[in-house]
């Protein structure tokens, strides 16, 4: 998949590579908050950094790698390496590896220790009243607390200038308000990554809810007297960073390779920004579009006669999470949540396409225990399933994405989102 992009051209200005960094200096590219440049295909690009096995072949491509992650024991967790710079600087830049690529949250968040280790100083980001802004966000499995700051961020060949980013565990936001509760994931170890690149269908992490009400907001203004909840206009909240790049603002594709049944030590794929805006992000004619609920981002999935209306596609989930009491669970201690079906087991889900027709999606299901114990060094596996007895949800995690190119159109009705006459949000594959 990514090989095709090597031939993609479209140079706007010259790239200059700073050692092994992916950052391009953008002198001569002109003004504007986002800039676009492309690398001539014949330019020799440096290789050899551990986290960049592929050089970016086109400016709208971010390499993704599934590997052992921070702990060395991650399974099916897709990471990107992003170059961040002190705002306005072309020299104070560093690449931060192992940033989780997450299609179920919005906004770039970087753990403060990872940023300080990179030696980058973020700029202040304040409310209209000049007070620092912080955020307490609860993920399903834990909360993050930290200040919002500004960084220049390289996404593929684009550079987003002074992008608001949450700095998780920022020590200067140490005054944790009483109504921000855990369990916290404010360290690299507890977060399991150096950060998260949230590129869900939502353009902001909170949206209207946090814009109209301080009480309902997970944003805090932090005067010297302490942090208190505050409303924040949508445009000032954490944004889906891809939606800020005019050329590719309407969506993305996640392209991950297939892996053998026994897994692979690593798998390298790509996040391709934009849909139908460039030669390398065209939606294939054979793709099927599945509309998502604009309010929830969910879609309805039929599984064994049950309608699971809170289903979603999530690169931040590392298993297929669903409930089926008829599939055997693993019996080994510590594995009781995982499915251990007979060899050759395939599960079938049905999804309603944009054209109203039902499409079936078949997914192999593997014996998690034997996969794990037979291949302890591997970090990418197909067919991993785990139970989640919350009713009404099928969480299509990384095992679904392996071997596919999955397009996701963001929410909104601007003309760029209009692909095949369907407005986002939707998923297609």
């Amino acid at each position: 998949m990514t090989r095709n992009f090597v031939h993609m051209l479209g140079s706007v200005c010259t790239w200059r590579w700073l050692g092994a960094l992916l950052l391009a200096t953008l002198a001569g590219c002109g003004g504007g908050s986002e800039q676009n440049s492309a690398s001539p295909a014949d330019e020799a690009l440096p290789r050899g950094t551990e986290t960049n096995t592929n050089t970016p072949a086109a400016p709208n491509v971010i390499n993704i790698k599934i590997d052992g992650g921070i702990s060395g024991r991650s399974v099916n967790v897709p990471f990107a390496s992003l170059t961040v710079c002190t705002p306005g600087s072309t020299s104070s830049c560093s690449t931060i590896d192992h940033i989780l690529v997450d299609t179920a949250s919005t906004g770039l968040r970087i753990v403060s220790s990872a940023l300080s280790r990179a030696g980058i100083n973020a700029a202040d980001y304040s409310t209209a009243m000049g007070e620092p802004l912080a955020e307490c966000f609860g993920f399903v499995d834990g909360s993050v607390w930290g200040r919002l700051r500004r960084l220049d961020v390289g996404l593929g060949g684009y550079r987003l200038q002074a992008l608001p980013v949450q700095i998780i565990g920022d020590e200067q936001a140490a005054t944790l308000p009483a109504d921000c509760t855990g369990p916290f994931q404010n360290t690299v170890e507890s977060f399991g990554a150096n950060g998260v690149l949230g590129v869900s269908t939502f353009l902001q992490d909170c949206g209207a809810t946090c814009a109209v009400s301080a009480a309902a907001s997970h944003y805090y203004r932090c005067p010297a007297t302490g942090c208190v909840r505050t409303s924040v206009p949508s445009q000032d909240q954490l944004q889906n960073p891809i939606s800020l790049i005019p050329d590719v603002s309407n969506g993305l594709a996640i392209a991950l390779p297939d892996v053998p049944d026994n897994g692979a030590t690593a798998a390298t794929g790509a996040l391709i920004m934009g849909i139908n805006t460039r030669a390398n992000n065209a939606l294939p004619a054979a793709s099927t579009i599945f509309p998502l609920d604009p309010r929830s981002g969910y879609l309805s999935v039929l599984y064994k006669g049950m309608t699971l209306s809170n289903s979603f596609f999530d690169t931040g989930s590392n298993f297929l999470f669903f409930n089926d009491a008829s599939i055997p669970k693993c019996v080994a201690p510590g594995y009781s949540r995982f499915y251990c079906p007979a060899p050759g087991t395939v599960i079938t889900t049905s999804l309603t396409a944009q054209d109203g027709r039902i499409r079936t999606l078949e997914l192999p299901l593997a014996d998690v225990y034997s996969r794990y114990t037979s291949n302890p060094a591997n970090s990418a596996f197909r067919g991993l399933g785990a139970s989640s007895s919350l009713p009404g949800s099928f969480d299509f995690g990384i095992p679904f994405f392996l071997g596919r190119t999955v397009f996701t159109a963001f929410e909104g009705v601007d003309t760029q989102s209009n692909v095949a006459g369907v407005f986002g949000p939707w998923v297609a594959f």
């Binding site: 991650s74 399903v140 399991g192």
Partner: protein, 187 residues
């Protein structure tokens, strides 16, 4: 169940758009619950972020006072109703997440369910069981699970899932779960 929604609305006669939206949400939720719960009368209506922890008495809930006008407009409304021999306290967090706490005949909370745009305060809802929940999440991260939470230990069961802007889950104490209680139906 429209009765309960009406009751809640009567508490706050001055409507604005946001309040109306929240009341609508209550009404929608209530209609959904009506399928599962045979309601009788609303026995208590009070403005309070009602967050009794698992294993505590539903009667011992503190009455919190909203501090700002905006918080008052959005502050949690809660009411308790009878459902068979159990009682259910329904409340709405300031972020609009619906929390339902089920207490048995002696008033002890044995189940809490939540659904809405933000995770509720699990520290308060789980109470003394919160540390084991937090510990389980830590070990889970070490084990490398990323996705919905499923925690089954001797004394507590927690299921929690969703994604940004949409979360749902429940936590209960198996030892206190009434024999005839139908978890599926409650949801």
């Amino acid at each position: 169940m429209a009765i309960a929604a009406h009751d809640v609305r009567r508490l706050s006669p001055t409507t604005n758009g946001m309040r109306f939206a929240i009341m609508n949400r209550i009404a929608i939720h209530c209609m959904r619950w009506a399928k599962a719960l045979l309601l009788s009368t609303v026995v208590l209506v009070m403005p309070a972020p009602a967050l009794a922890a698992l294993g505590e008495s539903i009667d011992d809930l503190p009455l919190a006072v909203a501090s700002s006008r905006e918080e008052r407009a959005l502050s949690s409304r809660s009411f308790v109703r009878n459902s068979g021999s159990n009682r259910v306290r329904i409340s709405l967090t300031s972020a609009g997440t619906m929390v339902r706490q089920f207490a048995n005949a002696s008033g002890t909370v044995f189940l809490v369910m939540w659904e809405g745009p933000q995770m509720p305060n699990l520290e308060k809802l789980l109470g003394t069981y919160y540390p084991s929940y937090a510990n389980d999440l830590r070990s889970r991260r070490i084990d490398g699970i990323r996705g919905p939470v499923q925690m089954h230990v001797d004394t507590i069961v927690v299921e929690s899932g969703g994604r940004m802007r949409n979360f749902a889950g429940h936590a209960y104490l198996p030892a206190l779960l009434p024999a005839d209680f139908n978890l599926e139906a409650a949801r």
